[in-house]
Symmetry: D3
Subunit: 292 residues, 6 copies
C-alpha cells in the first residue's frame, strides 16, 4: 500500500552541517572581548522582540542558520519563522520574530544577518533566472565556485531558489575539463582513463569547446557534456547532435540577461557560477523593540 | 638618526591568519575521495606550468592565499607572483605562474581561484569607489558585513583596494546604534553607560539618523558619528555641525553610483557594506600547459 | 598529439586527507606526558635505523600514512619505501627503512604500525578476493561500513588491493534501500521522488530483495541494482533479467569463501562490508638497530 | 558507617570522550550535501520506529555512542536501550529501540552501526577469550594496537567484554621493550634509567624474550614482566621463576585458540592485540518500520 | 522616555567565549581512560551535594566557567551560585552548591577549581590594588601578559576585580613601544606612519621612557602615553606636562606595594602585568557530602 | 655490550604536544586584524636581531615553545639558544638570540614571552624548593592544579626545575581522596573497589588525614599514601608507621617556607600545587636592535 505522506520539498540541512561555520563566525565577531557596546549599555534583565525584515523582495534561504547564530549565544531565545526557506518575501515582510533577552539578540544580529542575506541573495538570484527560463526544459545548476567554507550552505541556497546542484566537490563526480584533455592527449584517451578508474556510482561529464570535440566525445560512454562558452547557435547545434543521448549543459559566463536565450536552445542545464560568486546579498534588517 | 627604510605599504597577512580557512576550503572540495578526475587522468610524473590570468581588469588581492592553496596540496610547487596584491592588472595579465607537478595544480585550482577572485573582486570594487571620490577628503571604509569565516581576508582586500578598515569586530571599538539607544533610553544615556564601562583604548562612535540626534550626540565625549541614511543635503549640514570636532561617517546603502556625491559633502568616511557582501568576483582563469 | 605519459595507477592520497587523523592518533598515544619509556632511556643524540617488516605475506597500503606519523614527531627522519602501496610483500620483506634520531622512531612506532597494519589488512583481504574471482567479469567494491574517521584511508586501501570504491558517503550517490522503499510506499514511488530531486551528476541504485522487486525496478530509470542476500541461483536469474541494462551488484554477507560462486553468476559487482569492518590486520613489526 | 550503595560495574564513558569522534564520523558520511537519498524520499513529518537487532550472538558495547550518533542529527529522537553495554545478546535480540522523525533515523543509521558493530565485536571477542580461560587465574588485557582515533572507545569495549586495560598510552606507564633494551645496552641499565626518571605513580614493566633475560629483570625493582612469544613450557617456567614477586604477562600472537593453554601456565595476564586490531565486527541490523 | 532598567554592571561572558577552553581542560585531565578512581569507587546511582568554599577571603570570578565544567560532564547537575562573580567572599563562604550525580561532581572538581581559583586570584589581586589607590583618580588596567589561551577569561577576571581592560590584542589598538620607535627612527616618525595606516576607530598610545620623549610625543596627535619605568617624581612631572591632553598610563613592575604612590602622581592608569602573570590563585575547596 | 651513550637528562617535548597551544595563543593576540602597530611601522625588508634576556635569576623552561611562536609567524627566523631549558640564568643573561625579519619578531614577542616567563617561573620555583630540601631524601612533585590547557608544558617545567611529576591526569593512576572514601564508606572498601577494577599498570595512592586512617590504609595493598595537611610531628610519625612499605607523600599548602621542615620528616615526596597555580612568572624582556 502506498504511503500517503507527501514527498519532501526543500529539505532543511542538519545543523551538524553548519554549526561549526556559525560558531566560527560568531567568534570572529566577538574576538576576545565580546560585544563592548551591548555589554556596556544593555542590562542583563532587559528583554526585547526583534523582527528580521526584508527591505527588498526576494527568495529566503538560511533562517535555520540565522536561528543557530542567535541560539548559540542564548539557547533561551525564541525564534519564530514567518516565511520559510524556499518561500518568497515582499519588501517589508517579516521573515522571523525573535524574543527574549535583549543583549544576545543585539550581539548576534550581524552574524545572523550576514548568513541570511548572503544565502537569500543566492536563492533570489537563482529564482530569478529560473523564472526567466520558464517554459524551456532547462534547469539552473550551480558550480564549485562557492565561498570557501560555505559550500553546503550555498548549495542549499541554490536549491531554495529552485535550482539544482552540480557536483558537491571533486570526489562525487567526474568532470573532464580542457586541461585534463591536454594532459591525456585527447578526449577519447581522457575518457578511457576515467572509465578504467572510476567507480560504478560515478557519473562522467566532459567539457567540450567545439562541435568537433563534441562529436568525438559522443562516441564514448559518458553521461553529460559541458558545452563551454558556445554561441547560442552553436549550442543549438550541439543539442541537436547530442540528441538526448547525453545530458547537455551550457556553461561560461551565463548571466540573468543571457539565460533565456541559452535555455531556448534546448540544453538541459545552465550552470552559472555567478550565482554563488557574485550574486548580491538580499537587503535585510533587524527591527528591534523593547516590546512586541 | 632616522632609519632610511621606507614605511610599509600594503602589509601581507601572516599565513597563520588564513591557513585554516584554506585547509577547510580544500577539504570541502576534496571530500573523502579526493579529485576523482585528476587522479584518473594525470600521472604522478606529469609536470606542468600554469598561469593565473585576469579576464577583466582589476585590483589584485589574495595571491598569498591562492599560493597557500596550491602549496597545501604540494609544498614542492613553485609559485611566482607577477602582479602583487594591491596592484592593478589589465585584462589578459598573468598574476602568477605555477610550476611543478601537474596533478596538484589541477586539484587546487578551483579553491585557489575561489579565494583570489572573491578577494580581488572586493579590492577592485574598493579601488573603483576610491577613484570616484578622488579629490574629496573622504576615505572608503568597510563594515562588519563580511563573509562568515573570511573577515580577516576581506578586511585585507579592502586595504588592497585603497580603503580603510572600520572595526574588526564587536570587541575593538564601540558603535552605538539605534537599537542601543532605544535600550538606553536616549543618546546621552547610552554614551554615558559606555563611558563608564569602556576601556581607555576604545573609541566610541554613535549612529544618528537626524540632525537633532546629532546635536545631542555632539554634546557628549565621542570620537565619531555615523550619519545613517541621510540625504546629501542633510549630510552636508551634519558635517557643518560636526565642524571637525568628531569624525563623520556616512552610511546606508552607498553604492559606486552615489559615492561621489556623498563624498562631496565633506564627510570623513564612506562606510560601504556592499564592498564585502555584494561586490562581484573578479573574473580569473588558470591557463594550463604541459610546457612553460 | 597523444601525450606519451602513462596514465596513473594507484594514486596516493594528498596528505591533507589524512594528516589530522595521524596527529590525533599520535596525541592519543602521547597523552600529556609523552613517551615515558623512551624519554627515560633514549638519549637525544642516539641514532638508529629501523625496518618495517611484514611477518606475513600481504598487499601493502598506508606507507605514506606511516611516514607521516614518524615525520610528525621528527621531520628529520629519513623514510625510504622499499615496497610501495599497492604492491605485494612476502613474509620477511622490508616495506620501508627509517633512519635518524632513535627516540622519535620508537615513540611513533606503534601509531605508524597501527595505520599500516590495518590498511594493509584491508588491501590484502581485497586482493585475495579479487584473486578468487579472477576470470569472471565481477569487480570487488567496498561499502560505507568503514571505521569511523578513517573512510578516505580505508577506501584507498581497497583500491590498493585491486578493488573499487562504492559511494564515499551519503552525498555522492543515491542508494535506495528497503527502508526508503517502505517510506515511499513502493519501489517506483521511491525512484520517482529521487528523480525529481537528484542532481544530474548523481547515479541512482536500488536495493531489491526479490525478483519481483527487481522486475519493478527495471521499469524505472536507474543506474544499478543492489541484489541483497540472494541465493546464487536467484542472483543468476537476476543478472539474466537485468540483461546488462543496469549494473548488478551482489551484496549481503559475502565472504572470501562465497565470493567465487557469487561472481560466477555474472554480476558486475560484489560489495563486501567485511573488507573494512572485519578484515584482520596484516602482521607487521619494526626491526630496530643502532646501526644500519 | 558503610555506604549501602553497590560499587560500580561497567562504567559508561562521559560523552565528552567520544562526541568528537561521532561528529567526525557523521560529517565524513554526510559530506557537503547530506543524505541525498533520504532527503529525496522521506518527508519531514514522517515518523518511524526502528530496532537495532543482533544478527549474531554477542556481547554489547557502544550503545551510548550509537545513541549519540542519532541524537547528533536530531536531539528529539527517543533512544531506549534494551540490552545494556556489557550484557549479552542472542541472535535476534533487540538492543535498542529508536523512535521519532524518520529521516534522521535513516541518515544516522550507518554511522551508529559502524561504531556499535565494531565495539561489540571487540567486546564479544574479549568475552569469548575470557570464557575460554575461566578457571585459571589469568585476566585478558588489550594493547595499544587500537584503531587510530578510537582508543578510549576500544578500551571501553574490552572492559565491556570482561577484559582489563593495559596502559592507555605512552604516558601512563613504562613498558621497556626489546628495542629500549638495545639502546640502553642491557635490561638492568634500561631499568636503572627508568628508575631515575619515572614518577612515583608510574609502574614499570619489562619485556623479556628468554629466561635468562627474565632472571636479570627479576633482580631489579619492577612491577611486571612481559613474557614475549614464549612457548607454553617456557611460560610455565617463567611463572615459576617470577614466583608472584612481579605480575607476569604473556604476549605475542595469542588467539582464541591458544589462550586456554597459555592461561593454564599460571600467568597473570594474557595481552592480546588481536582483540582490537583484528576481531570481526558483530553483525547488526536496523529494523525499521513506520509504526512501532 | 528613559528606560527604567539599570545599566549593566559586571557582564558575564557568553559561554561561546570559553566553552572550548573548558572542554580542552577536561579532556586534558580525562585522557583516554577517564577518571579511574571515581569510576572504580562511585556507583552510577550515587548522588551527592557539594559546596565550593573559599578558604581565604577574595573577589570571585569564574563561576560560570566552573559551572560549564561540571555541566560538560553531566548536563543534569544543578549548580546554584551563592556569591556571584564580582562579589567578595569571606574565608569559609560557600560560592556555589552543586547537586546531582556524585561521579561527575568528583570527576570535574579539579578542572572547575583550576579555572575558578586562577580567575578569582586575578580578581582578588585587582580588587586589592584598586582598594589601595582609592581616593586617587587612577584606574587599574591589565596587559597582554595573560596566560596563553585564557585571555578572554583573564580580562574578565580583571573587570570582576574592579579593573579595566587595556587592549585585547594586537589588532584593537596601537601601542607604539620602544622597539617600534627604534625601527621608525624616532617617535614622530613612528606616529606618522601609524597615522597614515590606522583606521579611524583605532586609538594610538606611545611608550616613552623619558620626559624628552614625552615632550616629542605630545606634539603629535595621540590618545595616550605609556610612561615606562619612571620614578614617582618623574611620573608626577610627566602628568603635569601631559596636562590632561592625553591619557597617562604608568607601567613597569608595578606591584601592590608600589601602586598607591604611583597613583598619587595623578596618572590616569596603572597597567600591571603582574595581575595576570603572577597573581596567586585563590584558595578554594570542594566540600562534598552524600546529603545536603 | 653496553651502549656508551649517556642516558637522557631533561627531555624536550615533541612540538606536537604544544604547537596547537602556541597557535591558539598567537591567534588570540592577532585577532582578525593582525599587529596594527608593527604593520604600520615596520617595513617588510627591515631585519633585526633580538635577545631574550632574564631580568632576574632563574631556571629556564620553554625556549622551544618560544621558538615555535616566532617560527609560527615566520619559519625563516633564526633562533639560537644560549641557555638551555633546565639550566640556570643570572640576571642579565641572554637566553636566546633571534635574527631575521623585524616585523614577525615584534609581532610574536609577547606570545613567546608569555609562555617562557610562565614556564620559567614554575621551573624556578621548583628549583628553589628542591634546593631548600637538599640533603633530605624527599623529592618535589607537582599536582593536577595546572593551568587549563597547559598541563603538558607545566609538567615539563617542573621537570626542568628538578622536580618530578605526579600523575598527568585522572586516567594514569588512582588517587583515593577523602571524598571517594566518603562514597565508599571507608578506606578499606574504597581500596577494595579499586583493586577489583584497576588495571595492572595502575598505581594506587590513598589520601589520609589522620594516623588512624593511615593505619587502616597500611593494611591494604597500596603503593603510596598522601598525608594531607598533617603537622610536622604527625608527618614524622606517619613516616615511621609507613616504614618504607609504601611511598609517603606530604601534601597541603606546602610553600617554599615550610618545605624544608616537612622534608626533614623523612617523607618521600612533597606535592606542591603552588608550583603551578601560583608561582610568579620569571621576569624576562626582549632586547631588540636593528643590528646584531
Amino acid at each position: 500500500m502506498k504511503n500517503p505522506n507527501p514527498e519532501p520539498d526543500l529539505v532543511p540541512l542538519y545543523p551538524l552541517l553548519y554549526e561549526d561555520a556559525v560558531r566560527r563566525a560568531l567568534l570572529e565577531d566577538m574576538g576576545r572581548g565580546g560585544d563592548l557596546t551591548a555589554d556596556a549599555i544593555v542590562a542583563a534583565q532587559e528583554t526585547a522582540a526583534a523582527r528580521i525584515v526584508a527591505r527588498a523582495p526576494g527568495r529566503i534561504a538560511g533562517l535555520d542558520v540565522a536561528c543557530e547564530a542567535f541560539r548559540c549565544l542564548d539557547p533561551g531565545l525564541q525564534f519564530d519563522v514567518r516565511i520559510r526557506d524556499g518561500k518568497d518575501a515582499a519588501a517589508g515582510d517579516a521573515l522571523a520574530v525573535i524574543q527574549g533577552s535583549a543583549r544576545p539578540i543585539l550581539s548576534a544580529e550581524r552574524t545572523a544577518l550576514n548568513f541570511l542575506a548572503r544565502l537569500s541573495g543566492i536563492a533570489t538570484a537563482t529564482r530569478d533566472i529560473v523564472a526567466r527560463i520558464r517554459g524551456t526544459s532547462a534547469r539552473v545548476v550551480c558550480t564549485r565556485k562557492t565561498t570557501p567554507g560555505l559550500r553546503a550552505l550555498e548549495k542549499f541556497a541554490v536549491r531554495a531558489g529552485g535550482g539544482s546542484n552540480h557536483r558537491f566537490g571533486l570526489d562525487d563526480a567526474v568532470l573532464i575539463k580542457d586541461n585534463h584533455i591536454v594532459v591525456a592527449g585527447g578526449v577519447a584517451e581522457a575518457i578511457g582513463r576515467v572509465r578504467r578508474h572510476a567507480g560504478h556510482m560515478v557519473k562522467v561529464e566532459v567539457e567540450v569547446d567545439t562541435l568537433e570535440q563534441l562529436e568525438t566525445a559522443l562516441k564514448e560512454k559518458i553521461d553529460a557534456v559541458l558545452l563551454d562558452n558556445m554561441s547560442v547557435e552553436t549550442l543549438a547545434e550541439a543539442v541537436r547532435m547530442a540528441n538526448k543521448r547525453v545530458i547537455t549543459e551550457a556553461s561560461g559566463g551565463i548571466t540573468p540577461q543571457t539565460a533565456a536565450a541559452i535555455a531556448a536552445t534546448g540544453v538541459d542545464l545552465l550552470s552559472i557560477g555567478w550565482l554563488t560568486h557574485s550574486a548580491p546579498a538580499l537587503d535585510l534588517s533587524l527591527e528591534f523593540s523593547l516590546k512586541l
